[in-house]
Symmetry: C2
Subunit: 148 residues, 2 copies
DNA sequence: CTTAGTGCAAAACCTTTGCAACTCT
DNA sequence: AGAGTTGCAAAGGTTTTGCACTAAG
C-alpha cells in the first residue's frame, strides 16, 4: 500500500480513497482473481459509492504501474491479481474446464526454454504465461472420471 | 474437410455451405489466427451472403468438435486456429507487446512439467497453453532496443 | 417432411469515453 | 488554484439470442 503511494507520487498521480479501496479489495482477497465487477460488488457491499467506470480506470492504471497483473481466463472478462514484485516468482494457473475454478501452481521451470525461444525468434521476451486446462478433483468425480 | 463432414455426421449436425466456407477460410489462411470478424470479411469479400451470427455459431461448434481451437491474445476478440489432430503437436505463441504480432513457436517441452503438476494438484490435465510476451525484432529497433 | 441451420435485428455483455462536478496536492 | 479524478450516462465493441424463414438429411 505504501508502494502504491510511492508509485502514484512518482508519476504525479493522486492517492484517492477510491484507489486505496480498490487495492485494499485485492489485499483482502489475495487468493482470488477479481474482475472489475467483483471489485464493484465488494466495495458496494461495504457501502462505498464508487462507480464502475472508476474501477475500470483504476484497474488499468494499477496494471500500468505493475501493482496488479491483468489476466484472461476465457470467461469473458479481465481478471487481476496482485503483482508480487519482491520476488520475480512466476506462478501459473490450472483452469477447470467444468466449473471454471482456477488453482495456482508455483514454480518456474521455463527460463531455459524462454532463453531458447528468445534466441531463435529474435524476440526480446519480457514475460510468459502458462495455463493448464483440465478437470479438478471434484469435477472428475461428478463426471464419473471418464476419459473425455 | 472430410474430417469435418465425419464429425458433423456423427452428431447429426448438417453440412451446410456456410460451414464449409468457414472452414475453407481457415484452410486458406492457415498462417493466421482469424477472429469472427476476419472470417466475415473474408467470406463477404468472396461475395458470400453469410451472416455474422452464423459465423459465431459455427466457430463455437467447430471448437466443440475440436476442428478449431479457440485462443485469446488479449486483443478483445476470440481468435481461432485449425486444430492439427494428426500429431498432438503443441505449438506456442510469442506475442509482441508493441505491434501485437503473433509468432508461432514449435516444440513441446512441457510433458514432464504437466505430469508433475497433474500429480500435485489432482487435476486431470488435458491441455496447456504457453504464451511468451516480448518485443519482436522490428519493434525492438523502433523502440531503440531500450530495456524497458 | 422433419429437424437443424440461417439471417436479421435486437439484446446482452463488458469496457471505454465525454463531461460537469469534485478533490487531492 | 490547478491538474488530475470521479460518477454518471451514453456510446463502443464483441458476442448471444429470438424468431420467422430456409434448407439439409
Amino acid at each position: 500500500m505504501a508502494e502504491l503511494q510511492a508509485k502514484l507520487h512518482e508519476r504525479r498521480y493522486k492517492l484517492t480513497p477510491q484507489r486505496i479501496q480498490i487495492l485494499q479489495a485485492f489485499l483482502d482477497n489475495h487468493t482470488q482473481h477479481l474482475c472489475a465487477e467483483d471489485v464493484y460488488g465488494i466495495l458496494r457491499s461495504k457501502s462505498s459509492e464508487i462507480g464502475l467506470a472508476t474501477i475500470y480506470r483504476t484497474l488499468e492504471l494499477l496494471s500500468e504501474l505493475e501493482v496488479l497483473h491483468k489476466m484472461d481466463f476465457g470467461d469473458g472478462c479481465s481478471r487481476y491479481e496482485i503483482n508480487e514484485t519482491s520476488v520475480p516468482h512466476h506462478h501459473h494457473h490450472l483452469i477447470c474446464l467444468e466449473c471454471g475454478k482456477v488453482k495456482e501452481f508455483e514454480g518456474d521451470l521455463l527460463e531455459t526454454l524462454e532463453a531458447m525461444v528468445a534466441e531463435k525468434s529474435n524476440f526480446r521476451i519480457v514475460d510468459h504465461q502458462l495455463k493448464f486446462y483440465g478437470y479438478c478433483q471434484e469435477c472428475q468425480k461428478d463426471r464419473g472420471d471418464r476419459s473425455e
